[in-house]
Amino acid sequence: MEAVFAACVGFMSACGIFLMLRGHTFTLVIGLTLLSYAVNLFLFASGGLKIGAPDVLGASNDYADPLPQALVLTAIVIGFAMTAFAVILAMRGRSDSGNDHVDGKEPNLEWKEPR
């Protein structure tokens, strides 16, 4: 279970980071969303993975750590608000500059023959 979980988190962060390395706000937002999913799963696992264990004391001898769940909840709420802000900002930037490159203009990467 741990290996599958870790692979999922790792794969998702890798995809997120790859997308964030693009220069466009659209892919940046998608990448950030993926990365925040990965973060949430990661936080969830930080208290140790257990199946079927209650997170209340006294209900069983083997209980799950409730704190990471509270942390994930906070992180989800904050991440949601931040993503919403980022989307609005990206749209505003796009309407201002006419393209969605993070620098406001597409870089000129064409190779020029030296004279």
Partner: protein
Amino acid sequence: MIKHLITLPILLPMLTGLLLLLPQLRHNVRYQRVTASLGNLASLIACVYLLIAVQDGIIAYALGDWKAPFGIVLYGDGLSALLVCLSCLLGFCVHLYACAGDDQRGPFFHPLFMFQIMGINGAFLTGDIFNLFVFFEILLIASYSLMVHGGGKAKIQANVHYVFLNLIGSALFLFALGTLYGATGTLNMADMAQRVALLDAEQQLIAKAGALLLLAVFGLKAAMVPVHFWLPKTYASATAPVAALFAIMTKVGLYSIWRVHGAIFGDYAGELANVAQPWLWPIGLATIALGVIAALASQSLRTLISNLVIVSVGTLLITIYIHQLDATRAGVYYLIHSTLSCAAMFLLAGVFVSLRGKAEDRLVSAKPMPRAGLLGSLFALLAIALIGMPPLSGFVGKALILQSIQQPELQLWAWSAILIGGLAALIGLSRAGTTLFWNTSGDHPEASTIHPLQITAILLLVISLPLMVVFGGVLTELSDTAAQHLHRALEVETLLEVSQW
């Protein structure tokens, strides 16, 4: 009352901010300004009381009476109390300046301003590392919106970089917290400081990864090399009062490095002791070097000040690296000086922008400014403070830092870096001053005037600089307590007391 005093620096700005959102206040500019100013004044008074209270000992406050280490603790010691005082003083002066008309350039300036102060104060006062993240987010989301206050393409463009970088920073912050929680099983800073010393070898490696990830996150907020590139553009394009308030934001990052890497992973952390130290030294020097080069190349006054902020961050990183009582004390003094003087300079640059028409604050020839005598003397005073020449506080701060570096092998590098930083400030600011005031063409001063509130706000900040020298004894005592509390927090006994409170 005294028991709950520590919550006031967070609650007062928050309640004022909520009050300002009520319809009766929201639609009346005058009420808004008065309410927000009163809120700022009240928080400042509460902070001063807190500062007096912590001189007798560290205050730990369990929110909702949930006992540490399970509940969230507010932790007021000399350092955090001094810094909340600084942020409230800065907030009060900067807000006064904004009341001259900058607050009307976009909606919701006052509530956002109060929430930003709340986030900054909360970050300084919290004793729980996840709560630190939450307060970081509060101050960040307020700053995202304040950053675009006034609108315009340049601000949106700079904000895109600022927001996305900080969102990535927040994601890394959560990764680091998850790592540290997984390794130590606690989020309370005092508790964590005890547990990192007792980790076994495997867990140590995980905790070390978490600690260094946190260094990267705080470094991003503090604008240390190589993650400082967002700062000049952001600060230079923000509205003057917003840029001035941002002067304390890099200090929040530095404070967190002090707290986390100085206290939790400090001298007493066993195998993990001073895990960030090998990084801080080269990064500090590189930050000064790149800040100096960028300052010399600056084309506008606001870019120049932003780069001087970066130089001051480098200087403070060096004091954090040295990690002696003397160095911390000097660092705290210099931090206060650098925040106040940079903020005042940003406000003054805002006045220049409004007076120089299309030339704004760019270092080009333009029409002469009205009341050049007054503005020029303010500029000269601030320049002296920023460069670090006697008799103002910059000199005292730098002298204390230089004096605190005792090891000869460090002296060579640190002294030359800090002194070259001063030289660069001297060259940059003299060039800026001569261009702004003397390289004028045409003989008609622009018709626009300076609002008295703007001058009052700048004067308040400027006067605080010589006062920092006159009352240097009191201030060094305060920063001495701050340094002692920060260093004493490393001792396990104090931590036990705090967490059992």
